[in-house]
């Protein structure tokens, strides 16, 4: 049965079946052999005894009648039974009467023994009494070969053959039946191997077995599903982590960029703030040394004024940026005429354009165009764009402003013949603190907030702004689109003739900065206005009560009475509601503005105050009054 034990369940099952069969067969064969040998011996001895009895009966007459010749002849009949080796007849007194032998040298006992059989050395010998007519007449002796060994061998051979056959049958039956157990097990094993090799948890054992193997397969499949779920969950968690990591890295990158820009901005800011200081200092030196030279004094004053304006503009822009960043930036809503906005803007940038020697071209629609918004802020947008155009154009270039109306939209285009913008920078230029070329060392380099501020302001007005350029060195165009208010302007409220007929106003100035307030007062007086100057709140209130000013420029940080209290006090006067109150303060935050408006101020100015601003407020009296009412 060439069995090998390679460890597989199949071989073990077959081995089990075959060995069980072998044990059973061995037990059966041994039992059968023992029983058979016992039966064989009985049969053999019985047969020999029977022969002896027959021979006794046959030879009894010969003995009785003393005829040993006949007895010998009777014995000779045994020749037909070759396994009987020797035979003899004894008389009743123990003498040998006749004998028979297949071989002449056969050993024959001389005297009889008691009736019975004896087995010795592969032979069986039998003595039987001869009884005739109830009388013992003698003894017969037979000796035969005993075929036990031959029997044992032949019977053993048959048993062995049967056993081998049975084992072969058992082997084939077991080999067939074990498939019921090993096939599902092999399926499970195969799937387990696949899972280990391919890490694929979606495979399942496709079997519908019953009993323990069925339970095993179901449990295996469930475990695979569970592992698959957990593996999937783990992968998802990993993916989420990777994604979050990416987001964080991106955010970190943005933070780094912002940080770098802020550093650049700080460097630029320091530079920009410091730049105007040198000319101002020079101007001061000129004034001190050459105070008598009117022309030199005028030049120095112009220079200092220009530089101061530049600085103020810078700080204003910074404040605006701060408001934008903190989300507190608001614009006033009102009807604004385009020409006024353009004039305001030109007033700011004209000195710069002239300084660079550019040619400025203005092209506006003939009919008035009204916008809804904050005139100051819109002017700021235009001035920023024009200022940029002047800055980034080499000396002697051309700067143009063209306004057209396209279907309820005002399109303003500021173009120049300057250095232009690289295509990839067209959108980036609107970013905060972004400069087209950080290498620029012009005095006009700027902080990189102008365009950003302009875009923000335009968007707050419901418009849009975009940059165009044919490339570096081919100039650039900035196009602003703003919605137009179509309805005709409401008829202006009639204003008192006294305010319109005269160009001169009564003006109250209150500030503890004596130099500042005296110089402004001198200027206003020179322009033909009636001016009263006070240096504390109480005097100012008393002056207002007596003087009934058209305009009151009040410092917030006044001694004895704060600017807010002073404003409330003036508003309580009988003529107080007619006065236009302007807060002059060092704090430009929105909350300061708010406090000022709540206290009754009409306008809010941040120090240092340019004289033009005062002129502007005096010129816009009618507009302000209208808004107040």
């Amino acid at each position: 049965m060439g069995m090998r034990d390679s460890g597989t369940v199949r071989d073990k099952l077959i081995l089990m079946a075959v060995s069980t069969t072998l044990a059973a067969l061995l037990a059966a064969a041994l039992t059968m052999l023992l029983v058979d040998l016992r039966a064989f011996q009985r049969y053999w001895t019985d047969d020999l005894m029977t022969q002896a009895d027959i021979m006794a009966r046959v030879t009894a007459p010969a003995l009785a009648f003393n005829d040993n010749e006949t007895a010998r002849q009777n014995l000779a009949v045994l020749r037909v039974r070759p396994q009987i080796l020797a035979a003899a007849i004894y008389t009743s007194n123990g003498t040998r009467f006749a004998q028979y032998a297949t071989r002449p040298d056969a050993r024959i006992p001389a005297h009889p023994e008691a009736s019975g059989y004896r087995i010795e050395g592969g032979e069986v010998a039998v003595f039987r009494n001869i009884v005739d007519n109830g009388e013992l007449v003698g003894t017969v002796y037979l000796r035969s070969r005993y075929g036990l060994v031959e029997r044992l061998l032949s019977y053993g051979a048959i048993l062995l053959a049967v056993m081998l056959g049975a084992l072969a049958v058992a082997y084939f039956v077991a080999a067939r039946l074990q498939a019921g157990i090993t096939r599902p097990l092999e399926a499970v094993t195969q799937v387990a191997r696949d899972v280990m090799q391919r890490r694929d948890f979606t495979v399942r054992v496709p079997a519908k077995e019953s009993g323990e193997i069925g339970v095993l397969i179901d449990a295996f499949n469930d475990m695979l599903a569970e592992i698959g779920r957990r593996s999937h969950a783990l992968q998802e968690a990993n993916a989420t982590l990777e994604h979050e990591m990416g987001v964080r890295q991106h955010a970190e990158e943005l933070l780094r960029t912002a940080d770098r820009r802020k550093d650049e901005f700080l460097a630029t800011l320091a530079h920009e703030l410091r730049n105007p200081l040198a000319p101002i200092r020079t101007g001061l030196d000129i004034l001190r040394l050459r105070s008598g030279d009117a022309a030199a004094t005028q030049r120095a004053t112009d220079i200092m004024e220009r530089q101061l304006r530049q600085m103020v503009r810078l700080v204003d822009d910074l404040l605006d940026v701060s408001r934008i960043n903190t989300g507190k930036f608001t614009i006033k809503q009102g009807r604004v005429e385009l020409k006024a906005v353009v004039n305001d803007a030109l007033e700011v940038v004209r000195p710069t354009i002239e300084l660079h020697g550019h040619d400025l071209a203005i092209d506006l629609p003939d009919r008035p165009v009204f916008l809804n918004g904050d005139a100051t802020r819109l002017a700021q947008v235009l001035s920023n764009l024009l200022n940029n155009a002047a800055k980034y154009t080499n000396r002697g270039g051309r700067v143009s402003l063209k306004a057209t109306v396209e279907d309820h939209t005002l399109v303003l285009v500021v173009s120049d013949t300057g250095i232009g913008i690289a295509p990839e920078m067209l959108e980036t230029v609107f970013g905060m603190f972004v400069q087209v070329d950080s290498r620029l060392e012009r005095t006009t380099a700027g902080l990189g907030v102008g365009l950003s501020l302009a875009r923000k302001l335009v968007e707050l007005h419901g418009g849009s702004i975009e940059a165009h350029s044919a490339g570096l060195g081919h100039g650039s165009q900035f196009m602003v689109r703003l919605p137009i208010v179509v309805e005709p302007e409401l008829p202006a409220k009639p204003t008192p003739a006294a305010f319109i007929s005269s160009e001169s106003y009564r003006i109250l100035l209150a500030d503890d900065n004596v130099d500042f307030v005296n110089s402004i007062g001198a200027l206003l007086t020179a322009m033909g206005h009636s001016v009263v100057i006070t240096h504390n709140g109480r005097d100012a209130l008393a002056a207002a009560k007596r003087f009934c000013p058209d305009y009151a420029f009040l410092d917030i940080g006044l001694p004895l009475m704060s600017g807010y209290d002073l404003a409330r006090g003036i508003r309580e006067l009988p003529s107080g509601s007619m006065s236009i109150l302007i807060a002059v303060t060092g704090w430009g935050q929105e909350k300061d503005r708010q406090l000022a408006f709540e206290a009754g101020f009409d306008h809010h100015m941040v120090k240092p105050v340019r004289f033009e601003q005062i002129e502007e407020i005096l010129g816009n009296r009618s507009l302000i009054k209208k808004l107040r009412t």
Partner: protein, 201 residues
């Protein structure tokens, strides 16, 4: 293997008869000269060996002969043996059969005179070698089985006739003579007969 002695119901009986068998066997061997002294003493010293052998044979013949049931008066009736002209043999025979049975029947030995020859005995022994006398006795016999010891007795109606061959007592058998009287002789007896005269069938 140890030989076993098979228990036998008649074993005790057989040993009891051993003494006689020994004596009988001794009688069968006239020239053997090995008769045990003890056995010799039990014999009647005056009787010749030949007569003793023939007496023993007569008794043994009964074991091989089957007589018709009608020859017995009842179930307990004995077998009867008549002896004519052989008184010494008759004495010996009487001594042999004493206490013995054949087929559960006792045996009675009668010495017959010539005048009593017609008596209905089962077996009749006619002694003497005179053929004429034997023939005459045979013709008058009323026995079922006749045994003789003279020459040519068989044709005269004897069933068994003794004669001496090589100094041994042998006998011839005439089956027809026995069968004529309804006596059946065992074939085993015939195997040891010197000569067998078959029946006339």
């Amino acid at each position: 293997m140890q030989a076993r002695v098979t228990p036998y119901p008649q074993r005790r009986l057989r040993y009891r008869m051993a003494g006689w068998a020994l004596a009988c066997a001794t009688a069968l061997w006239p020239h053997a000269g090995m008769a045990a002294p003890a056995a010799g003493q039990s014999q009647a010293p005056g009787t010749p060996l030949e007569r003793r052998v023939k007496a023993a044979f007569l008794y043994k013949f009964l074991g091989y002969a089957e007589f018709p049931a009608s020859s017995f008066a009842d179930a307990g009736a004995p077998l009867t043996i008549g002896v004519v002209d052989a008184d010494d043999l008759a004495g010996e025979l009487a001594r042999i059969v004493a206490g013995r049975t054949v087929s559960n029947r006792g045996i009675a030995v009668r010495i017959l005179h010539e005048s009593e020859i017609g008596a209905p005995v089962h077996m009749l022994f006619v002694g003497g070698m005179d053929a004429g006398r034997v023939g005459r006795l045979l013709r008058q016999s009323g026995a079922l089985l006749v045994v003789t010891e003279s020459e040519n007795a068989l044709p005269q109606g004897s069933a068994i006739n003794f004669h001496i061959v090589d100094e041994r007592v042998r006998f011839d058998v005439a089956l027809d003579a026995a069968e004529k009287n309804g006596v059946k002789l065992s074939s085993r007896l015939l195997t040891v007969a010197n000569h067998v005269q078959k029946g006339a069938q």
